[in-house]
């Protein structure tokens, strides 16, 4: 446990009414590290990411971001969120704004950039991810894969030091998954610190430095992809992964 960790989560608890979703999560991410969260639906992956972005208040435990606790009482949540990007399963683009409007909203309103600064920053990113010719389109006109790439660009426009990805390919048609995963691979190669909840096991094995198996609201097992996918120790991890093998997806 070093103070240099990009993200440290200690004993995190979160319940919705009587339903305890997170029951003591401990997790640490080093700078430039890519960690994948796997686990069944309802195991708490999404809730964990939403807690890190302070979209859900936590019941107990601490989250420390770059050495600063962000779960304290007088934390400026808006400031914290500006340093963390999150991409959602359902894209959540703003349908009443063009692609450029979506990407520049955060930089303009949250970071206080001028319109020109925000636009040139957005155009640079859109160009890098092959979306520059879509800058004036509205989200309804884009394919799912394009929408999700725009959502990633929107998160990157804030130049976050940590990126959270919440099952970003689950709502996509199979043939559109690859283009989104390609973007994430690129970001990983550049050294972006990422915490990724995913059902794409092959992708997790490929891109993650560490894989965490969430079960019953705790991190039941974690290790390198070789350890988790090659020789899982916990019987529940084995059973979970066997289902993917049976379905021909691993």
């Amino acid at each position: 446990m070093t103070e240099a960790a990009a993200l440290r989560i200690e004993g995190l608890h979160k319940a919705f009414g009587k339903l305890e979703v997170l029951r003591g999560i401990d997790l640490e991410l080093a700078e430039h590290e890519v960690v994948c969260l796997i686990g069944a639906s309802g195991s708490g992956k999404s809730t964990l990411l939403r807690c890190v972005n302070l979209l859900e208040p936590v019941d107990a435990g601490r989250i420390v971001l770059h050495g600063d606790e962000i779960t304290g009482r007088d934390v400026d949540v808006n400031r914290v969120r500006r340093g963390i990007g999150i991409v959602f399963q359902a894209f959540n683009l703003f349908p009443h704004m063009s692609v450029l409007g979506n990407v520049t909203l955060g930089p303009r309103k949250a970071l206080g950039l001028s319109k020109q600064e925000a636009q040139s920053r957005a155009e640079l990113l859109l160009g890098r991810f092959g979306l520059i010719d879509k800058r004036d389109e509205y989200p309804d006109r884009l394919s799912g894969g394009q929408q999700q790439r725009v959502a990633i660009v929107r998160a990157l426009a804030l130049q976050p030091r940590l990126l959270l990805l919440d099952e970003v390919t689950s709502a996509l048609d199979p043939e559109l998954v690859a283009e989104v995963l390609e973007v994430i691979r690129e970001l990983a190669a550049e050294g972006m610190t990422m915490l990724i909840a995913t059902h794409e096991m092959a992708f997790a094995r490929d891109v993650a430095r560490r894989v965490c198996f969430l079960d019953g609201g705790v991190v039941l097992e974690q290790g390198t992809p070789q350890e988790i996918f090659g020789s899982p120790k916990e019987p529940r991890t084995k059973r979970f992964l066997e289902r993917f093998v049976e379905a021909g997806r691993l």
């Binding site: 500006r82 683009l93 703003f94 009443h96 909203l105 309804d140 006109r141």
Partner: protein, 260 residues
């Protein structure tokens, strides 16, 4: 197209035939369809109608913003804002529950009778206030339905970009909410335009009041037709304008590379 024309002609032909064959048709024609009276009284009633126009233009401009404010107050989350939410609910319940004509009478008669020098005694002023109060209650419910129809994930996405609660409301939630409620919103405005006719109960000579005076003096109802013409003439453009706004928004979102 041909079938539509044929069926329309057949339908209205039959209807016209039946009406003109009614036993009281001659008397009805004399009472309601006196073309000379129509032409003669039109300028005078149109002049009085300007007061209706003035009242609804002022009222609509205020309602548009007051109702939005009320809807936003009512959607404030958390226990801290409970008293504000409760007040907003009581307001909306009260002013939607009491007939508009009663509010107009109570304010229009009641306020001037207070005899306080800085309280206006102009019945037009109080009638406008009454309409604003009533329609703010209605329209705020329309706005609220719009705000609630925007999925919470939109707010979450905005907040995740570091936008404040107010910025999220201002740039993400409200623009979508308002677009969705434009048709019911303008529907309420049509109601407001028509309800300006209630102002006559205070003795203010607006279009309907003048019509009644003319009718009582001549026992002829053609004046009502004049007033009806004027009200319809002002509401139909508003209805078409609504359709145009909705279609434009749809085009904009679905069109290729449309630069706003």
């Amino acid at each position: 197209m041909l079938i539509a024309v044929a069926s329309t002609l057949a339908f209205f032909g039959t209807l016209g035939f039946l009406v003109t064959r009614a036993p009281g048709w001659e008397r009805f024609k004399e009472y309601f369809l006196d073309w000379d009276r129509y032409r003669e009284s039109f300028p005078e009633i149109a002049d009085a109608f300007l007061l209706n126009v003035k009242i609804f233009l002022v009222a609509e401009a205020i309602v548009l913003f007051a109702a939005l404010g009320l809807a936003v107050l009512r959607s404030l989350p958390g226990p801290v804002f409970f008293p504000i939410r409760a007040l907003a609910i009581v307001y909306a319940d009260f002013f939607r529950g009491v007939p508009a004509i009663l509010i107009i009478l109570m304010l229009g008669v009641g306020m001037p009778s207070l005899g306080v020098d800085w309280v206006p005694i102009d019945p037009v002023f109080w009638a406008t206030v009454a309409l604003v109060l009533v329609y703010t209650a209605y329209v705020s419910e329309v706005y609220r339905a719009g705000i609630e129809s925007v999925h919470p994930s939109q707010d979450a996405a905005a907040r995740s970009l570091g936008l404040t609660r107010f910025q999220s409301l201002r740039f993400v939630v409200l623009p979508q909410a308002v677009r969705r409620v434009i048709p019911p919103l303008l529907n309420d405005f049509i109601g407001l335009q028509k309800d300006t006719a209630l102002v006559g109960v205070l003795g203010v000579v607006e279009a309907l009041r003048l019509t009644q005076i003319n009718e009582a003096a001549s026992f002829n109802g053609t004046y009502y037709l004049v007033a009806a013409t004027l009200f319809v003439a002002i509401t139909i453009p508003l209805a078409r304008f609504t359709d145009w706004l909705v279609a434009r928004d749809r085009r904009r979102r679905l069109a290729t590379g449309s630069p706003l």
